[in-house]
Symmetry: C2
Subunit: 206 residues, 2 copies
């Protein structure tokens, strides 16, 4: 077997294996043995690369947060300098891009939300992410309305995005991404009503 450069490969494998294991049996039953099996390595390697199971779980949460950040950033870079509405729409779509990696990622998100209530390290990561979503939304709304209104609009849309995602994930039928996006965009239209010059998407609020 090779001698050098294994670390980034193994780390990536084990993080993916962690999500797969959580998808299969939940965080409670995602043992190091099961995760290692998924990655095709032995259990001992986890402590070697992550210092222990906790380290692996934290790295997995970082990966998920990073993936979300990238999904949003990619869509916003394509805009060059768009209207506030365009930027907010990109943020909405980026947040529902998670559905591509739906099964494993969705269940891992839920598991980490629950865990973060009792692990300061995870709570910190979680809070930074929430604040980023809120701040980005707030900044764009601020371009169209007074600060206090912008804050409430940002809180409303952030709750809408997370709520649609949560209810879709918990539903036995899974998340209907198209419907969730449509409802989130409709909510955005209502929040912008009377505040922007450009009209909404061709379809009115019917």
């Amino acid at each position: 077997m090779p001698k050098t450069g294994m670390e980034p490969i193994r780390r990536s494998q084990l993080i993916q294996a962690t999500m797969a294991a959580i998808d299969e049996v939940g965080l409670a039953d995602a043992t190091v043995l099961r995760i290692a099996r998924h990655a095709g390595v032995s259990a001992g390697i986890i402590s070697h690369y992550f210092g222990g199971k906790d380290g692996l779980l934290e790295a997995t949460m970082r990966q998920i947060l990073s993936d979300l950040g990238q999904a949003v950033a990619e869509r916003r870079l394509r805009l060059a300098d768009g209207s506030p509405r365009d930027h907010i729409a990109a943020i909405i779509d980026g947040n529902f891009d998670r559905s591509q990696i739906s099964g494993p990622a969705a269940k891992t998100w839920l598991a980490f939300w629950a865990s973060s209530m009792h692990r300061p390290q995870l709570q910190r990561l979680q809070h930074v992410n929430d604040q980023r979503l809120y701040s980005n939304l707030c900044f764009q709304f601020r371009r169209l309305m007074p600060l206090n209104e912008a804050r409430d609009a940002a809180r409303t849309l952030a709750a809408m995005i997370d709520g649609l995602w949560l209810r879709g994930t918990l539903s036995p039928d899974g998340l209907d991404t198209e419907r969730a996006r449509r409802l989130a965009h409709a909510c955005l239209d209502k929040l912008l009503a009377g505040h922007d010059t450009s009209a909404a998407s061709p379809k009115e609020t019917a």
Copy 2:
């Protein structure tokens, strides 16, 4: 010690102790020993009254769902026959009544949401509850608008309620109940705009 009538007392004690333990250390570390300690009884009693730890956890989730149902039902009964807006407002307020039992109940909700992804029994309970919230909202919206619009309005407000609750619970500062209710009612106002005769609450959408 007494001889008869202990069962309902112990069941209630142990369910409360379960929520307290989850509040303290999370579901993962809520062992039968810790739960029993909280209730002031021995560990063996859990298997005696609930058949095992799983039975206790399911009973605890049933209790939480029942509490929420009651909080909503109470407020709606006070209305006699109110307007659709009144009923929907009562549903919103009922859902944020959970904050009274905030700490233990909130963390238990989150833990069960995550668990329900992997336990059919819990998922079934969870789904029935979600459907009830959605159906109730849908029925009231239906009195003011066409079915398709009513469904979207119900989905929107349900997501708004859960999203506000989730983000508030995850926040290090805890849930700001007043603000959450205010934003949910503002969302309701926007959903009803142009659909009802009676005006909203004294405060306009500022």
